[in-house]
Amino acid sequence: MKRAKKIAAKKKPAKKPAKAKSASKTAKSAVKKPAIAKNGGKAGADGVVNWNFKVLSHHMLDGFGGMGEGMSIQIAPDGRRILWLAHESAPKNFTAVDVSDPRKPKVVCQTNLPQSHMRSNSLETCGNLMAVAYQTQKKGLQPAGMELFDISNPEKPKSISFFDCSGPHSRGVHQLWFCDGEYVHMASSSADFVPTHPQDDQFYRCIDVRNPSKPREVGRWHMPGTKQGDNVPPPPRHPLDKGYRAHNCNVYPQRPDRCYLAYIDGGMHVLDISDKANPKRISSWTNSPPYTGFMHTVVPLFDRGLMLVTDESTENNAKDWPKLVWILDARDESNLVPISTCPLPDHKAYAARGRFGAHNIHENVPLPTCWQSDQIVLGTFFNGGLRAYDISNPYQPQQIGVFVPPAPAGAPTGTIQLNDVFVDEREIVYTVDRHIGGLYCLEMDF
């Protein structure tokens, strides 16, 4: 473990008050009128659609609108509603946006990463504490790990500690889950983990942060066969070979003894974490083969005995089509049964540019600032936009809303690439572009 000083991000507005003023000016001018209104729902070359969403605002995030998959809402001590966003890649670390008025979002803080060979990608807040994941481009680089911040003053996040996860075989932390103020559950590697295949470096780790200045690991689990010395053979490689490694590791208060773990090419697993030091696998499910791997998120719908499982599309031009949101009958957690998928439009209309297919969904994060629904699934599908599904009949999910904005100016793929979505308890929908387009604030109109 290292102290966080080296990592502590530079805070733009903290430098000079004068600069902060000009930054807020930029922020104001960056708030665009909803682009959709001009198009009136007419399909453009890239299939622009707005069906049953109302666009409240679009913010390019001051020219750094390439966003990852960390979105979390904090109610600041002064009452402001702050949306914390992780960036998809360097140079920016995270951005805080005041979304108290979602029609007029304001950037209040935007920080830089200390190194260009790293990315933050994922973050979560709980009260005035924020956890940020750091992953390096290559194994063995630093800093790789997890940083905790005191965000009681959103303009000036203060680093509390840095939990080092670097190592000769490690890229650090890709994704984390933190909503109880006590434990960070994360997809991470470590200095002492030697994978059987270089792609399989990240696994599930549970970090006790009850003393935020001294985070400590209390448990871990890896898929058998992925660590050297395991007594089972390594798993077979999938054609796209994205690795047998952990992605989302969701834990909910309804079942604090369960971790719902997506494992990329290794499918998904339900872990019994009642003894955090010794997680045990209860069940697993995978769609690959014949599908092409990259399982991303598992969201249980406890009352309903259902489970949402997403793939991530990682290839351009829909080469890995179909990448889907799956619905599982999870009434018996030891026997998960896929019963349907959320229908996607014909991929050919979207295949020309960029990625097309499932990625993140709204995850019912168990916090008062997060909307909870077991009737509607909201997911981002890259150039397929944001899509909402009514799953009141889980055997027949129905699409009830679509938001495919026009390609943001300078979009490298020439299309929107919506990457993540979060809905707050006011039912305001926030969705972000992966490359350049920043933040869109929407209302659900269905």
Partner: protein, 351 residues
């Protein structure tokens, strides 16, 4: 056979008997406006103005000619539906064949990116069209009811010859009776006396409808997107005598303050439909059902019952069930007696 539902398999505190509770009646379905009116009433002028307005942006216009008379059957089968792109994100499709097929093709073409995305469907019927079959097409999920919801039925009546048409043509009367809104056109060239007489007759035929008066074709575009039915029950309050020239068509409001038991209401409606289906022209209202948190929108057209929709909230303080019946020759008393009988039997069965 089991009485189990999806809710029994996968229970949810946030769902009702009829699935997800919805913020509005049409839920996420595509809104449909039906514009009807006698030949030369001014439907096209009204529609063209709407398509150019901001409310009309992104509308798919379907000019429905299948109800026209005098077109050879062979010609009907051979003709094809073609889509024309209009300004303001609108598109137009002339359909002489099956409305359902035309709409399905429009949605499929939209989803395949062949035609622009549209957010509303506007059906302009032929002058002589009976809208009952159109309403039926939208009334069940076996047809179009899953994806489309009829939001407003507008009847255009012109102030110059409207009165004469209403007196002579039963088709024109039925259009006025079934409408949610009536637009009186050409008022600028009609004399005041005739206009007043026409308005009185329309109010007589359809006391529920909002009547808009268009001067030189100008009308609030919202007339084509909003039923204006929020206070329709109040307009329809009390006993309404059978209107002259109404061809035996009557309308009345069934009200009940006590929560209704769904199986009892359902059986009552099924009995009514079994006995008099063809005479149930349009039934629509809100139900206060025992066990449901919000009001349930109930709709039926002839022998078809639309899948009910539970709303998240009541529109006002009045939480009593109220259902408008438009029937041919079925009186309020008869319906009331049937419901009373079923209710009595339903309760005894529960005991």
């Amino acid at each position: 056979m089991t009485d189990s539902t999806i809710l029994d398999l996968f229970p949810s505190a946030s769902a009702g008997r009829f699935g997800r509770r919805q913020k509005r009646e049409r839920g996420a379905r595509l809104p449909v406006t039906i514009v009807t009116g006698f030949l030369g009433a001014g439907k096209t002028t009204l529609v063209q103005r709407f398509l150019k307005s901001s409310e009309g942006r992104g509308t798919a216009l379907i000019v429905n000619e299948f109800g026209s008379e005098g077109i050879d059957d062979a010609l009907l089968r051979e003709s094809t539906d073609e889509v024309t792109l209009l300004g303001n994100g609108c598109l137009c499709c002339n359909t002489r064949s099956d409305l359902q097929l035309a709409l399905r093709k429009l949605v499929a073409d939209r989803d395949h990116g062949k035609i622009p995305h549209f957010g509303r469907v506007l059906i302009e019927t032929s002058g002589l069209a009976d809208i009952s079959p159109i309403l039926q097409t939208f009334s069940t999920d076996r047809a179009l009811g899953d994806e489309f919801a009829v939001e407003v039925v507008v009847a255009v009546v012109d102030a110059v010859s409207g009165l004469k048409n209403l007196e002579k043509a039963p088709e024109a009367r039925k259009q006025a009776i079934l409408a949610d809104r009536i637009v009186v056109s050409k008022t600028d060239i009609a004399d005041t006396k005739a206009r007043k007489k026409l308005l009185a007759m329309l109010e007589d035929l359809n006391p529920r409808a909002v009547i808009d008066v268009a001067v030189k074709g100008d009308i609030d575009p919202k007339s084509l997107t909003d039923t204006g039915q929020a206070d329709a029950i109040e307009r329809h309050s009390g006993f309404v005598a059978e209107a002259s020239h109404s061809d035996g068509i009557v309308s009345f409001v069934m009200r009940d303050r006590a929560p209704l038991i769904w199986p009892v209401f359902q059986r009552s409606m099924e009995t009514l439909i079994a006995l008099r289906g063809p005479d149930l022209l349009r039934i629509k209202g809100l139900l206060n059902l025992a066990g449901s948190k919000g009001p349930v929108v109930f709709q039926a057209v002839q022998h078809l019952i639309h899948p009910p929709v539970e709303l998240t909230e009541w529109p006002d303080q009045d939480h009593s069930s109220r259902v408008v019946f438009i029937t041919r020759g079925i009186s309020e008393r008869q319906v009331d007696d049937l419901f009373k009988a079923c209710r009595a039997l339903g309760y005894s069965a529960e005991e």
